[in-house]
Structure formats: structure tokens, C-alpha cells
């Protein structure tokens, strides 16, 4: 182990490392965003009030909630590395079977580019966790907010989008950030489906120069830089969502003037 090796590895392989870091960021960022959207949608569906909806809608709602439950349990209850293998290698087999069974595969052979598969897997995984986080966030909002919205005449959807979700988003931001950090690290397991993210690249580099410690130590630092940067960005958003500590009063002439910031 010597400092020279670190410098050597970086100077000889920086494009590969940079590409790996870039892929890691792309997969974890897109995966977290799509996952958060999945979570929000599930959260909204889960909290549709059961009061006085008709028989058909009630049953449809029950079935949908049941399916969503299965989805959440499956993705929370199995390791992402295993899901990656099952989905990446299983989808082509499933499409083949489907073609035999019903005569068409809808023009999709089931082979997907590794990057697409990676984003899909991270999104589905994050969605399952986010669904629970969002549900918790919605339950945590004061009942009075829902009642006030309903009393004004808002339906479930309007109540959610104008009153509840803005408050939920603020409350779940720390948990979402947590999920994002976990995704940056956990995308490393996607090397098993040949995604050229940071871990995969490092393994390739180390396989060529046999300097495992030095290579992975560099990867370690890069991961740390990415996660710390992500944390700082999220903190910034959190602070912005806090809003101003003071407000402006309006005087008789309708002109705003600053409030005393004691």
C-alpha cells in the first residue's frame, strides 16, 4: 500500500470511476423520485375514506388495496439483490411463456437494458418503502385538516393535493432523504445484473490491477462524497420548506411593511 498506487489508479481509471459514480447517481436519483411518486399514489389510495361509497366502488377499492399490500410486502420482504436477479432474468422467461399461452408478447421480449432494469428495480423497491412512509405521514396529519377541507366541499383528491400532501411532503422529507442515501449505497448490489455503476467499475479496475484495497478505498471515498453532498442538498430543501420565520403586516394603505423581527 502506498500513496503512489492511489494516484496511479485514479490517473489511469478516472473515466471509468466517474462513469460509475454517474451511473450510481442516475439510478438512485431517478429511482428515488419514481419510488416517491409510487409511494404518494399508494398513500392517497390507501386513505380513501370508506364512508358511504357504493358497493361496487367499495369492492374495487378492497381489491386494489389488497394488490398494493402484496406489492409492498413482496418488495419490502425480499433483498434487492435477489429481486434484481428474479426480474432481470425472469422477465424474458415470463414473456416467452406469455407468448405461448396467449399468442402475443405485446412486442416486448422481456430483455431490457441493464440500466432500465436497474432503475425499475430501485423504483419498485423504493416505492414499497415510501408507501409506508407516506401512509405514516398522512395518518400523522391532524384530523381537523381533513375535516376543514371536507367542510369546504373538497373531495378526497382535492383535499390531498391542496391541503394534506403539501404538509406530508414536508414531514416525510427526512425519511425520503434517508431512502435516497440508502439507494446511493444499495445500487452497488445491481452489479449482479451487469449495471456499470461504481461498485461494478471498481471491481473491474481491481480485477485488472490486483490492488483491491486501494481501488475500493477510492470507491469508498467517492460513495461518501456522494452521500454527504446528497444530505446537504436535502437539508437545504428542508430549510426552504420551513418558510419565513416572520411575516409582513399590511397597513391601511395596503402597503406591506416589515414586521419587527424581535
Amino acid at each position: 500500500m502506498s500513496l503512489e498506487w492511489f494516484i496511479n489508479i485514479i490517473t489511469n481509471n478516472w473515466p471509468m470511476l466517474l462513469h460509475g459514480a454517474w451511473m450510481t447517481l442516475v439510478i438512485s436519483t431517478i429511482g428515488t423520485i419514481i419510488g416517491a411518486l409510487i409511494g404518494l399514489i399508494i398513500g392517497v389510495i390507501n386513505t380513501i375514506p370508506k364512508m358511504n361509497v357504493g358497493g361496487f366502488r367499495k369492492n374495487a377499492l378492497k381489491i386494489i388495496n389488497g394488490l398494493l399490500r402484496v406489492y409492498v410486502e413482496f418488495f419490502r420482504g425480499t433483498p434487492m439483490i435477489v429481486q434484481a436477479m428474479v426480474i432481470f432474468y425472469g422477465t424474458p422467461l415470463f414473456m416467452q411463456w406469455l407468448e405461448k399461452a396467449i399468442g402475443t408478447n405485446f412486442g416486448f421480449s422481456g430483455d431490457m437494458p441493464a440500466l432500465f432494469a436497474a432503475i425499475l428495480i430501485v423504483s419498485l423497491n423504493t416505492g414499497a418503502y415510501m408507501a409506508e412512509i407516506v401512509r405514516g405521514g398522512i395518518i400523522g396529519i391532524d384530523k381537523g385538516q381533513f375535516e376543514a377541507a371536507r367542510a369546504i366541499g373538497m373531495g378526497h383528491w382535492t383535499t390531498m393535493t391542496t391541503v394534506v400532501l403539501p404538509q406530508v411532503l414536508r414531514n416525510i422529507l427526512p425519511a425520503t432523504g434517508n431512502q435516497f442515501i440508502m439507494n446511493i449505497k444499495d445500487t452497488s448490489v445491481l452489479n449482479v445484473i451487469t449495471v456499470t455503476e461504481l461498485y461494478f467499475q471498481t471491481k473491474t479496475i481491481a480485477g485488472a490491477n490486483f490492488r483491491y484495497f486501494e481501488s475500493f478505498f477510492i470507491a469508498c471515498i467517492i460513495y461518501l462524497v456522494m452521500t454527504i453532498t446528497a444530505t446537504q442538498i436535502l437539508r437545504f430543501f428542508e430549510r426552504r420548506l420551513e418558510g419565513n420565520a416572520t411575516y409582513q403586516m399590511i397597513d391601511e394603505a395596503g402597503i406591506t411593511r416589515p414586521k419587527n423581527n424581535e
Partner: protein, 243 residues
């Protein structure tokens, strides 16, 4: 006189617990009706049933002659009734102005400018027009409740329901809210009020309804109910309430 709300044989139970038993009750346009009674008498539940925050287990609620319990879209009905809550329930994520405009733009489909004009008008009525940029967390209880009243007024409803509007307030803030309510009552607004403020009820109400154990025991003018109650239960309650 035009009847806005007419309730017939209303029942409400939570499980096996019957909270409202065969309640009959109606409110005319421009009337100020105050519901009094001890805690647990069902008066808040009655109010919450009127705009269907609680769904009745039986009976009819006729709004302008139509039984709304037979309808599937309740939100269309709710927008015609304002509600002021004990805990204010202002939308925490919006400032004062937006609290008063969001319903108008989203539900009544008014333009932003129009909604703002209406909101400012009512914020002036409650004396909160200078605080339009404040968020609920930055206001005192009395201020919040006055904004909540402006929010209800901004929807220009047929009637406003007040569910113990001063019960969560510090004593020195009760006055400012009652003053606003008194002005509204004098302006001809239809109001249904649940309150423990007996003097206030006597002063502003056209009618007093006394409830006990889920039934309406007495329903009459303030003079009648306060000075000449017909039932023993009313007498006992008033003796305790007026001290």
C-alpha cells in the same frame, strides 16, 4: 320564511351507543339558532351531522327541500354550509389569505383576483386584513378563529355552523371572537351555534335549542327557554350553567 335545513327523525349511533335519538329540527334563512346542553348531550354530533362530517344512521336531512342523504355527491352540498371548528383547523400549509381563497378557487372555480377580493372583504369584517401574509402557526388562538370565520364566510355559504368556537380560547380572546359573531348575527347571516357561553347565546339568538341525552328537550325563543323553561331537565341545566 324560507327553510334552509329541515332535519327529520335523525338518528346517530356509534356502535351500540345512541348519540342522537329521533331529532327533529329546522333552521330558516337569517335565523340564529343556538344549541345548548351539557357535554355529551349530542349537540356537537348534531352539528357535525348537519354537514355530514358524521354520517347519520337514520332519518332525513332536507336542504332546501331535498333529502341530501339520498345523494351520492356530498361535497356539492357541503360547500353551501360553512363550518367553524373548536380547534380552528386552519390549513397549516397556507397563509391567511390563501386559507380564505383556496376553497373559492378549487371548489367555486373563481378566478384568483375575484377570490382575493371576496377574501379581503371578509378578512376586513373579522379585522384580520392586515395579517394576510401570516401563517396559522404565527397567530394567536383568537386571531386563528377569526380567520377561520373569514374562511367560512368567503365561501358565501347559506349558513355557518359554529362548533364551540370559543371553547379552545384563552379567556381574554373569547371576547374578540364573540364580537365578530355578534356582528354577523346582526347582519342577517344564518347561524347554527353550539356554545357554552350562555349570556352570549341569550343575547344574539333568535332561537335556543336545549339538548339532553341525544334528544331535543326544549326549542324556543331565548326568553322562553331561559326565563320560562317548560321541562325539569332544562331548569336543572340552566341553574348549573347560569350559576
Amino acid at each position: 320564511m324560507e327553510t334552509i335545513i329541515d332535519i327529520r327523525h335523525l338518528n346517530k349511533s356509534f356502535g351500540s351507543h345512541e348519540v342522537l335519538k329521533d331529532v327533529n329540527f329546522s333552521v330558516n334563512k337569517g335565523e340564529v339558532v343556538t344549541v345548548i346542553g351539557s357535554s355529551g348531550s349530542g349537540k356537537s354530533t348534531l352539528l357535525r351531522c348537519i354537514n355530514l362530517l358524521e354520517y347519520p344512521t337514520g332519518g332525513e336531512i332536507n336542504y332546501r327541500g331535498e333529502n341530501i342523504l339520498s345523494k351520492s355527491n356530498l361535497n356539492d352540498y357541503r360547500k353551501h354550509l360553512g363550518m367553524v371548528f373548536q380547534q380552528f383547523n386552519l390549513f397549516n400549509n397556507w397563509d391567511v389569505l390563501h386559507n380564505c381563497t383556496v376553497g373559492q378557487t378549487k371548489i367555486l372555480k373563481k378566478s384568483k383576483e375575484e377570490a382575493k377580493e371576496v377574501a379581503m372583504n371578509y378578512l376586513k369584517v373579522v379585522g384580520m386584513e392586515r395579517y394576510i401574509n401570516a401563517r396559522p402557526a404565527q397567530l394567536s388562538g383568537g386571531q386563528k378563529q377569526r380567520v377561520a370565520i373569514a374562511r367560512a364566510l368567503s365561501m358565501q355559504p347559506d349558513a355557518i355552523l359554529f362548533d364551540e368556537p370559543t371553547s379552545a380560547l384563552d379567556p381574554e380572546m373569547v371576547g374578540e371572537v364573540l364580537k365578530v359573531m355578534k356582528e354577523l348575527a346582526e347582519s342577517g347571516l344564518t347561524m347554527i351555534i353550539v356554545t357554552h357561553e350562555m349570556e352570549f347565546a341569550r343575547e344574539i339568538s333568535d332561537r335556543i335549542v336545549f339538548m339532553d341525552k341525544g334528544v331535543i328537550v326544549e326549542d324556543g325563543s331565548p326568553e322562553q327557554v331561559f326565563n320560562n323553561p317548560q321541562h325539569e331537565r332544562t331548569k336543572t341545566f340552566l341553574k348549573r350553567a347560569l350559576k
